[in-house]
């Protein structure tokens, strides 16, 4: 049986891509951010995951408003990054595992998740940057399964629904008849708002409370409507939904291996956690 070894949750702002492209890892602005990933890279290298389920949100690369899915799951042999319009170099393609994708999809649809399945799928910075933060040489030693959650257009799935999706992903992976070691990678957040007069909004108190809840009270954030989450964390802070789904996939108990919180990266409070299952 496949085993979920743990989850990593991290911010994914495009500015990270620009910093990587320019080699700014040791720059004073960026150093506190990039340094936090060094122990995580070490843990990942030692834990040797075979497959990464990447729970992320598309920012208008693969999906438009003509067909905007709430939950989309990739089922392709390969996923490519592409031009997003602001000049960040694209990353090497990612190897998929379509057979495992279909096992995941079969289980989730049986569990009454109304997925959109994608046999072709471009993956944007929310997918590629966290991967590059875990594997800086960008020679991905893993296969990937993209799971995309709508944060573009209201109504977003509720926090409760995202939690349930994560739980169902956990159940589905546990049924895979393979020996894969599976990492869940949830990307987005933490508090930030790009648009409106409230641009630049950051809520440190809420973010820290949320990060604590990931370990000690993981369903805490499901009490909020997505509108309340926007109020507390900003229009893009609602990306914590990906953290919540990731946490739900890990089961009842986790062991916190690593945490970082840093204000600001671009307009964002950047967060990073590594949670081992069964802690």
């Amino acid at each position: 049986m496949a085993k979920i070894i743990g989850g990593i949750t991290t911010s994914h702002v495009p500015a990270i891509g620009r910093a990587i492209a320019k080699g700014l890892q040791q720059d004073p602005y960026w150093k506190p951010f990039f340094d936090a990933y060094v122990p995580v890279q070490k843990w990942v290298a030692e834990s040797k995951p075979d497959v990464v389920v990447v729970i992320y949100n598309d920012h208008g690369l693969n999906f438009f408003l003509d067909k905007m899915p709430t939950f989309a799951v990739g089922a392709a042999a390969e996923y490519r990054n592409a031009d997003e319009g602001w000049g960040i170099p694209t990353m090497p393609p990612f190897q998929g595992d379509a057979a495992l994708s279909w096992q995941l999809i079969e289980s989730l649809v049986e569990d009454e998740f109304d997925l959109t399945t994608c046999q072709e799928m471009k993956v944007d910075h929310a997918f590629t940057l966290p991967m590059a933060l875990l594997w800086p040489d960008q020679s991905w030693p893993v296969r990937v399964i993209p799971v995309c959650i709508n944060t573009v257009q209201d109504p977003l799935p509720t926090a409760r629904r995202c939690w349930k999706l994560g739980e169902a992903i956990g159940r589905a992976v546990a049924k895979w008849e393979t020996d894969e070691r599976v990492l869940i990678l949830g990307t987005g957040g933490l508090s930030h708002q790009l648009d409106g007069e409230r641009a630049g909004f950051i809520n440190k108190d809420f973010d820290l409370k949320f990060m604590d809840s990931m370990v000690h009270d993981p369903q805490w954030a499901t009490q909020f409507t997505t509108r309340e989450l926007v109020e507390h964390t900003g229009t893009q802070g609602v990306e914590l939904l990906m953290w919540l789904a990731t946490r739900a996939a890990l089961g009842a108990k986790v062991h916190e291996l690593h945490r970082n919180y840093h204000i600001p990266i671009s307009n964002t409070a950047s967060g990073l956690m590594v949670l081992e299952t069964g802690g």
Binding site: P14, G60, G85, W86, V152, L194, E197, R198, A199, G200
Partner: protein, 115 residues
Amino acid sequence: MSAHKKPIPGTVIFDGEQAMKGYALNKMCFSFNDEDNRKAFVADEEAYCAKYGLNERQREAIRSRNVLQLIAAGGNAYYLAKFAGILGLDMQDIGAQQTGLTREQFQAKLLAARG
């Protein structure tokens, strides 16, 4: 829709109402994922906006590079970011413009959130 929900100051939720209002504008911005389209826009902005059927309010917001106006005209932050890319603006520029601050003031505001 949003009528029943408590507004969040300084924040427009991109819901169905906004999505309907901004469809042409966002579709144009979505097209900016392709370099050829960005070049076509730069070569002739008015023709490009006309091709996507932007209304006058949207065209004026594009002309004036005014993010708050673009949002009011139905623009979505994620698609508008691709327009900002054409203009060479980053998120601090955008944030500064929307909050009426200089770029330096906006960056200071972000830093202040460290508490």
